[in-house]
């Protein structure tokens, strides 16, 4: 494994071989290309296999696992797209993701503002309390959470998923936003205060607009976390009317266990929103993950 090779690196002059420098470099990096390509194949195969299998009938799938479908069966896909249950799940996944994101980012931004820009007794204790939440596995609290939600009457209610998800999303969001808020110079705040800005006015009119990239990042993290959550919606929603996509996928797999091709088609369609979102928000997502890991 060599370090980043600079164009026109020093190694050229020291080698007497007859090849030109770019050609030699290309030759030398050949094995690297092969390795990367092989990993790429392993990564793509399951996804591609699912897409292609969705176009087969289950009989074709067992007779001809590798080959292209003949004939191509589109009904697996079109049937799902025509079913109201799929669109309903897409709707509730979206609603829950948006609700979770607004709540997490809103509450965390307010708290991060106080924890970043005020000095008050107990501030560090409070911050530590929140950061301890970083290492609460969701699964630890799931059982008492379920009992609590039952007591509050929040079962089969989207709030029963939104509120706990927002609460568990707080620590990471708070840590990232606090780090960002602290980097905004104090002079700006003094200037705003002299102009008669209240603390909330400064937060709302100066800090939040400046923090837009950071807000984008934490929002994307919250959306992805909510979108993929399985355990909580599985427990909270006993009625299909609020099922989210992951719950739907699992139920669909159980229901059509014999019709594997249809399950594959369902999986592929279920993947599309997440992959599409990733394509659009790649920068924010990766920025958030690396910021969370280095600052958290």
């Amino acid at each position: 494994m060599s370090g980043p090779s600079r164009p026109g690196g020093l190694s050229i002059s020291s080698s007497p071989s007859g090849l030109s420098a770019p050609a030699r470099r290309r030759l030398r990096s050949m094995p690297l290309y092969v390795v990367v390509w092989l990993i790429g194949v392993v990564m793509v195969t399951p996804l591609l296999y699912a897409v292609v299998s969705g176009f087969k009938t289950t009989d074709q799938l067992s007779d001809n696992a590798f080959g292209l479908p003949s004939p191509w069966v589109v009904s697996n896909y079109t049937d799902i797209l025509a079913s109201s249950s799929f669109w309903r799940m897409l709707g509730s996944s979206t609603l829950i993701a948006v609700g979770t994101t607004v709540l997490t980012v809103g509450a965390a931004a307010l708290a991060a503002f106080a924890l970043a820009r005020f000095t008050f007794r107990g501030r560090e204790l409070l911050f530590t309390l929140f950061t301890v939440g970083l290492m609460f596995p969701f699964a630890v609290a799931i059982l008492p959470l379920f009992i609590l939600l039952r007591t509050f009457g929040l079962l089969d209610n989207p709030w029963g998923v939104i509120l706990p998800q927002a609460a568990f999303g707080l620590p990471m969001t708070l840590v990232i936003l606090r780090g960002f808020f602290r980097e905004i110079p104090g002079e700006l705040e003094e200037a705003a205060t002299l102009d008669g800005c209240s603390p909330f006015g400064f937060f709302w009119r100066v800090l939040l607009p400046m923090a837009r990239p950071a807000l984008g990042t934490v929002s994307v993290l919250a959306v992805v976390g909510s979108w993929n959550n399985f355990l909580l919606p599985l427990l909270v929603f006993s009625e299909p009317s609020w099922w989210t996509i992951p719950v739907g996928v699992q139920q669909f797999q159980g229901q059509y266990a014999a019709d594997i091709a249809r399950v594959f088609a369902y999986l592929v369609i279920a993947m599309i929103p997440a992959l599409g979102f990733y394509a659009v928000a790649e920068r924010q997502l990766i920025g958030g993950i690396t910021a969370g890991a280095t600052k958290g």
Binding site: M1, G3, P4, S5, R6, P7, L10, V35, V36, I39, G40, M43, P46, Y49, A65, A107, A111, F113, A114, T119, F120, R123, T128, F130, V132, M135, F136, P137, A139, V140, A141, I142, L143, P144, F146, I147, L148, L163, A167, L170, L174, V175, G186, T193, P199, N228, N229, F230, L231, P246, V249, F264, L267, A270, M271, I286, A293, T294, K295, G296
Partner: protein, 331 residues
Amino acid sequence: MNTTSTAVPAAQPAPAEDAPSAAENRRPLARRVRDWLTAFGFTVPALVLFGLFVLLPIGYALYVSFFNWGGFGAPSNFVGADNYVRLLGDPVFLGDLWRGLLLVLASVGLQLPFALAVAVLLNQKLRGRAFYRMLFFAPYVLSEVITGVPFSMIFAPDDGLADKVLGAIGLDGLGGLWFADQDWALPTLFLVMMWKYFGFHMMLYLAGLQGIPAELHEAARLDGAGPWHRFRHITLPLLGPTIRMSVFLSVIGAIQLFDLVWVVTQGGPDHHSETMAVTLFQFGFKRYQIGYASAISIAMFLISLVFALLYQRYVLRRDTEGALTSMRATR
């Protein structure tokens, strides 16, 4: 951190860098109380949410774990520490710990080095590297359920894709029952985890690699250091904080692993791929032994907490940005 003592009493919300006590004591009490209320007011929504849905459940689990309770009505039948005693003698729970340890060792020993190697590879000027980065990270974005279901079909015994591929290249002997085999269930699960998560760690390492100044490599090259020496003595040490963080995340991830296992094997065959979270789910939501399941919750919580504290104390301490120590270190 510099202590810019803003003695100007007008600067109402003092800059965060100030040590609270010094500047604070000079202000009149009424103002201090008002400031405190303002600051505290901002944290109220987060505190309510966090207290109600994170702290309260964990406190409640602790309480319930001392009862032998079926989950309906008020907790009854106080049994003291019996649930915990039972836990320590439960072969399934002890097995969970052992399997968790194996997964952690496999992650740290195989997955992370692999992710690091790929990150170093994709940090070079390769054509299409942006595409490969995006592709390798993509599985992380998919829900565990959506990942788990196709893999349970790919590793279907005897006629799944995995067996057919192995058959086609003449390695029939390697294939077999995969998730259905007691000895192979956990390794197969690990393969799926690697497929799903290595891209995440790769991204962390890539971000870390970008923070290493190219001049260092240049200088080392001038001094005649080969690729391996540069990796060993420049890349690896400077990537230290990132690596320590990614080890931490991967251990916490292994402790709470649930979705993937539940969808693919439900912990089977005969508990051979079961994790703590799955055991908890089985007792809590299938057998309604809420007291016992709560004891498992608390055990998981304590394991995470003790690990996190020790890790922060002894491993992350030198990385000043550690979450729990950051403030004390900068003051």
